[in-house]
């Protein structure tokens, strides 16, 4: 499906397959940008040195994938016309099937295929920009048993008890912040350069 702007492929389930092959999110910390990459690595090293288990999930999210999420959500849910969709270099998708219902159907197939959620009362589509897309955020699960001692960036060592709700573990958040890796307290796995 990659190619020139003339040979566009209409929206539909095939774009889910395309995105899973060509527009995947990364779980590799090396795909983050500096200085957040080095900061995240240092924080994770301190956690692991202390005995914590760190399971990384998403680091850098694909902007192409975000683009597909955003416009299929808006068009498929009738919140935008297919003709309103912007173009993106490297994603030769034709949102407009020349028929409003067919355009909506193609986009809806993608919503279902991607497993997108439709929050109640939400008019907000999946975002086109974020710290993840910019390479400045990481999602990870951090676990340990009982209490461990974690080294902050300034070398001081802090005892931290495990809490099943990481959003409430302010001591852990302060250690992350010492490495400029800041916790977003609404989403358990999410850490970023600015806490958003």
């Amino acid at each position: 499906m990659e190619g020139n702007a003339i040979a566009k492929t209409k929206s539909g389930i095939s774009w889910v397959t395309w995105a899973d092959a060509h527009a995947k999110n990364s779980t590799n910390i090396d795909d983050l940008v500096e200085p957040f990459r080095a900061n995240a690595k240092a924080f994770i090293k301190a956690l692991e040195d202390a005995g914590a288990t760190v399971t990384k999930s998403t680091t850098k999210r694909s902007d192409k994938r975000a683009y597909l999420f955003h416009w299929c959500w808006r068009i498929g849910l009738g919140k935008a016309k297919a003709s309103e969709a912007t173009a993106m270099i490297g994603v030769d998708i034709e949102w407009d099937h020349g028929d409003a219902e067919k355009s909506k159907k193609g986009a809806k197939e993608m919503i279902d295929g991607f497993g997108l959620a439709v929050p109640p009362n939400s008019t907000n589509a999946p975002a086109l920009n974020s710290n993840h897309i910019a390479g400045k955020a990481i999602d990870m699960d951090i676990s340990w048993e009982d209490t461990i001692k974690i080294k902050k960036k300034d070398g001081t060592v802090v005892s931290v008890a495990f809490m099943s709700d990481v959003n409430k573990n302010s001591t852990l958040h302060s250690i992350g912040a010492s490495y400029s890796v800041k916790k977003l307290t609404t989403d358990a796995p999410h850490w970023s350069f600015d806490g958003h």
Binding site: G115, V118, P126, A127, L184, T186
Partner: protein
């Protein structure tokens, strides 16, 4: 999934102490009902035809009441199916979501339901049939079958969904139960 039993404990204390300002509760009924209902065992969140719940021992065919937390909220009846562990059958386990959603204490089950869309989501209750009403677009039910109503909410965080069950009013105090669904994409928060 966080569970807050303090309202239940408080209710039992009120009954035991006989506070004359307390709501009228038949002391003989409340402990029996309370003992029979475990929030963790009976409450979960669902998306499409997949239920996530902290209970690994639900038998296939068990009835489940689904609160569809759309606008307005509606109630659907369904049955719990088999365990599922693949993203093809469960949106919560697709790709990068699986790492964050598939916690050791969470089990995923197929849902057997006729009138559920793939984008529908909400809270599932596996227990005896729930009597509910819809008031101002929100489902109200009494899980403990007492004088308190429970209300159900779903809202978006930055990259997930938060589900919660409240006593009497939504977003007042601590929820009785809550669950988090990691979506693995960025969205605009709607949670208060």
């Amino acid at each position: 999934m966080a569970i807050n039993l303090s309202p239940l404990i408080a209710l039992l204390l009120v009954v035991a102490c006989g506070n004359r300002d307390a709501p009228k509760v038949r002391a003989t009924d409340t402990p029996v009902v309370a003992a029979a209902f475990s929030y963790a065992d009976h409450l979960g969140w669902w998306h499409g035809r997949c239920l996530a719940i902290s209970n690994d021992h639900i038998t296939s065919g068990t009835p489940v009441t689904l609160i569809v937390t759309g606008t307005p909220q509606v109630v659907r009846s369904a049955k719990v199916g088999e365990h599922v562990n693949s993203g093809e059958l469960c949106a919560a386990l697709k790709g990068g979501r699986a790492t964050a959603n598939a916690k050791p204490d969470i089990s995923f089950y197929a849902l057997q339901a006729d009138s559920i869309e793939t984008t529908d989501m909400g809270i599932g209750i596996t227990s005896t049939p729930i009597t509910s009403t819809v008031v101002n677009g929100m489902v109200e039910a009494s899980l403990l079958q007492d004088q308190h109503k429970n209300v159900f909410t779903t809202c978006a965080t930055s990259e997930g969904m938060k589900f919660a069950v409240w006593v009497d009013k939504a977003y007042v105090g601590e929820p009785l139960w809550s669950g988090y669904y990691y979506l693995d994409y960025d969205t605009t928060p709607t949670c208060p």
